[in-house]
Each structure stands twice: as C-alpha cells, then as structure tokens.
C-alpha cells in the first residue's frame, strides 16, 4: 500500500508494528480514539528532569533514561519550549539511539504571540531533530484560540498527527471543558494522581464521552507523593494487582481510570523508568479497589 505522509502520520506509524488483535484491551497500551493510533500507557515526561543545559555528564545520563524507556517499549515523550533545554536533551538522546521509531513525539506551543507559534514549533522540531510531531498541544491554554487554529491547519495539511491542549495543577477546568466541547481536539493533558483528583468530576468522564485521549501529568506530584508515602504501608490489595511499591500503585491507580489515561512520569533514573513501565503490566485495580486505595491513602 502506498501510504501518503498524512496517512502515515495520522496512523501513528511509530507503533504500527504492535500486534493488532485485541490490543485496545491490553492494559499496557492506549488507543487514541480519534485516529486509532496505539501507544504504551506509560510515557515519559521531561519537566525539570531533562533540563540539564550543556552538562555533558547529565546529558549522557538523560540519554540512558531515554534508552531504557525505548528498550521498555517506548511511547510518548512529552516536552515543551517552557522546559529549558529539555527538548535539546531529548534530541541528544534520540540521536544516540539512532532515531528509534517507537517514540510518540509530543511537544507544546507556549507563547503569548500566536504569530510566533509556527517559528516556535519549527525551533522545537529542530531541537528534537524530527520532521514532524505526533502530537502538539497548546501549553496551559496560553493564547489557545490562535494556537489551535495553527495546529488544526497543520493537521489538515498533514504536517501534524494530533492536536491537544494542556492544563495542570487543577487550573482552568471550566475553560478546558469548553474547548473539549467546542473543538475537535485529539488529546487533553491534565493533572491527575491519587492526591489530585479534581479531574474525576468532569474532565475525565467528559473526555471518555467525547473520545478524547487523556494524558495525566504530575503523576507523582513532582516526586512529592512517593517521598510523602515512603515507609507508609501499602494497602492489602497492592499484592493482588502486583504493585510492589507506592510509585507502582500510584501509576496503577491513574492507569485504571475508565478514561484510560496515559501517564507521563518524569525521572532521571533508569531504574525508575523500568519500575514505571512495569506498573502498566499485570492487573489494574477495579472500581472497588480504586475506592479502597483512595480510602487507604486518605487515612494515612
């Protein structure tokens, strides 16, 4: 079959090698409702962790994290022009891996000036060393109207596979919901974790209803949750679902929401990447177990 560039991008070529039968039910995978693209449920964030400037030691260390992520199945790597040198670090890591195919390149546009959006996107592409992104999002809804127009135009031209918006820290959920209702976005990124569950009220069920893929940022509250829970007993059901640590349980909780979010934990450690990836394997908590996890967490 002669694939056009547009069809190739929209279909998520990076993951075309995944087995097709039954993969939407696989707990380790996520399907983008609007395009059918598949990717692993656990991605990789880059906020703070990959902002290492020109430090050669830390660049190599981040490249090892990216290598481990790819080795564990790859998936979404998320960044932003706001994240200092993180985009350049990702480009460096991908170069060292000779540009692996199993990365769902995800970035954002973040500038008050709509006119500067295309230039910023071009700079981001250059930092990553990619021809196009799998997903571009309007970062924290900054100048969202104009940037969405730009992104949808890129998608129509076949220069972009998916369009999304982001919010974090529970901010501006009403506006986020309005955009989800009025614009044909493919992804919404929001903060969701065991301690920040505001999205459960409206955004997560609405995303499911509208067929919008969800990305859960701050799954560990920038490391604060595992630090707070260090030494605290895991609930009894943790063993039943194969969660050997709080970070794994925290991720399993996120991944088990019926909206089937993609979690994007950021880390500087190879061991953490592998631990995060393994959280998606095996059983996830059901509705009753989720209630039990919340109750256990709130009683700690």
């Amino acid at each position: 079959m002669d694939l056009t560039r547009r069809a190739a991008i929209a279909g998520g070529l990076a993951f075309s090698a995944l087995p097709s039968a039954g993969r939407a039910d696989d707990s380790t995978l996520r399907r983008v409702p609007s395009t059918g693209a598949m990717m692993p449920a656990v991605g990789l964030g880059s906020w703070i962790t990959f902002n290492v400037g020109t430090d050669p030691v830390l660049l190599d260390s981040c490249a090892e994290v990216i290598a481990a992520f790819v080795e564990e199945g790859g998936g979404m790597i998320d960044s932003s022009p706001m994240y200092g040198s993180s985009q350049n670090t990702i480009g460096y890591g991908l170069d060292k891996l000779n540009r692996p195919g199993d990365v769902f390149a995800t970035d954002k546009v973040w500038t008050d000036s709509v006119a500067n959006g295309p230039d910023q996107i071009a700079e981001s592409r250059a930092e990553w060393g990619v021809d196009s992104f799998d997903l571009l999002q309007v970062h924290n809804l900054v100048s969202w109207r104009g940037h969405l127009e730009t992104l949808f135009a890129m998608k129509d031209d076949g220069r972009l596979a998916h369009v999304g918006i982001t919010t974090s820290h529970g901010r501006r959920h009403a506006l986020t919901e309005r955009i989800m209702r009025e614009h044909p976005i493919d992804f919404v990124q929001l903060t969701y974790n065991l301690a920040d569950r505001a999205a459960e009220a409206r955004l997560l069920p609405f995303a499911r209803e509208k067929g919008i893929a969800v990305i859960a940022n701050r799954p560990y509250r920038r490391g604060a949750l595992p630090r707070r829970l260090r030494g605290a007993p895991l609930p009894g059901l943790a063993a039943e679902i194969g969660a050997r640590s709080w970070p794994q349980l925290l991720l399993k909780f996120i991944l088990s929401h019926p909206a089937r979010p993609i979690a994007i934990p950021a880390t500087t450690r190879v061991g953490h990447v592998r631990e995060n990836k393994s959280a998606a394997r095996g059983p996830l908590p059901d509705a009753a177990m989720r209630r039990e996890i919340i109750a256990h967490f709130e009683n700690l």
Binding site: W47, I48, T49, N51, V52, G53, T54, D55, V57, L58, M82, Y83, G84, S85, S86, N88, D112, N140, L141, V142, S143, H169, R171, R172, T268
Partner: protein, 220 residues
C-alpha cells in the same frame, strides 16, 4: 495576562538543585585559571585601595567591570540561560552595570571617606566576594563547584555592591546598587525554591549594602 497569573513562582523553576550546583563546577573548569586569577586581581586592587584610595578605587572598578562583562556573557548567557530562559533577560544587565561602574569610577572626583561605615561596609562586601567560595564546603558541597569571584554571578555582584559603596555620594551609590541588588535578590529567590538556606548569603549581601548606603551621611 490572565493565563500568566495562574503560574506560581515554583512553576518557573524548571531545573533541579543538582543541575544548578553543577553549573558552577563546569564553569570553573571551563574558565580555568580565571577562578584563581580573578580573585587575586580583586585582592590586589583592594590592597591598593587601602593604600591609595582614589587610584585603588579605579583599579577595583576596572577589575569588577571587566569580570561583570565576562560573567554576564560566559556564565549567565552561555551556561545559565539554557536551563533558565529568564536568565536571558538578566545577562544584558551585567554589561549595563559594568558600564555604570566604569563611568562612576572615572567621573567620581575622589574616593569616599575611607573610615566611614559606608566605605567599611564596601570593603567588607569585597572581602565577602573573596571568601564566597568557602560557602561550598560549609554547605557540604563539592569545592570544585564553589562560587568564585569573576566566574560565578553572586560573588561578582557582591564585589559590585562593594564598589558602589566606595564611590562617593549616596546618590551614585543608589544608581550603582540597583542592578546587583535586583540580581542578587533574584538569585536568593531561586535558591529559596531550590535549597532554602542557600538563599541567605545573597539576600544578606543586599541588606548590608542597602543599609550602609541608606544610613550614610549625604557626602560620605
């Protein structure tokens, strides 16, 4: 604007403590032997100032102005801006401050009164710039990443505060204190978010300089 108001200070801190302290180690290595030569030049100028206040002040101003240009370009623009995009706005201020110090020292009719509290504080701040690297071992950080005058911003700005207090005239002092005070407060706030107690040195330097200039008699 409405969107910007939803950000908190911590949202703009996009790098880790490890990355921040390693910047100084990398810069010390890259600029070698400047971490030794720049403090020696400052010490020599300070000693000269003690013997010949007017010419010594010009030497101090010259040394500080030159290293401000160097720190603004090498450390702030080339090394710090990649991890902190806000630093791009700070870098030009180092050149402005270098110009202000050079102008002030060259046009000042004489040195300030050497025995005044203002001048004593000024020399104290320059001495603080020289011993600033000792904060690294005190804070149990690697000495290779010590902040050194002429390489790192804060001790360089401390020396700039010192020169501001040695230039006669409180109004000239205020003009010269503005930029280093703002940059040191920004450094203090960054460190407060990163490592708490590390915020104290830059903020104490600013407090000392502002108090000395504010309490000085008009013609000291």
């Amino acid at each position: 604007m409405e969107t910007w108001l939803t950000y908190e200070p911590a949202d703009f801190l996009l790098f880790s403590e490890r990355v921040y302290w390693r910047l100084f180690a990398l810069e010390n290595a890259a600029r070698w032997p400047l971490p030794v030569l720049a403090p020696l030049a400052l010490l020599a100028a300070l000693l000269w100032h003690l013997r010949r206040p007017a010419w010594g002040l010009r030497a101090l101003a010259g040394v500080v102005a030159l290293v401000l240009l160097s720190v603004g370009w090498h450390f702030v623009w080339q090394r710090y801006t990649p991890v902190n995009w806000a630093a791009a706005y700070a870098a030009p201020l180092y050149a402005v401050q270098a110009g202000l110090i050079a102008w002030s020292a060259l046009t000042a009719p004489r040195a300030g009164r050497p025995g005044s509290w203002r001048a004593v504080t000024g020399r104290g701040l320059i001495a603080a710039a020289l011993i600033y690297p000792l904060l690294a071992p005190v804070a149990v950080r690697d000495i290779a990443g010590a902040e050194v005058f002429g390489v790192a911003p804060d001790p360089t700005l401390a020396a700039a505060l010192g020169v501001a207090l040695l230039v006669p005239g409180a109004w000239r002092g205020w003009i010269l204190l503005g930029i280093p005070a703002v940059l040191l407060i920004a450094s203090g706030l960054t460190r407060a978010l990163l490592a708490g107690a590390a915020a104290l040195p830059p903020l104490l330097l600013v407090a000392a300089a502002v108090a000395a200039n504010a309490l000085a008699p008009r013609h000291s």
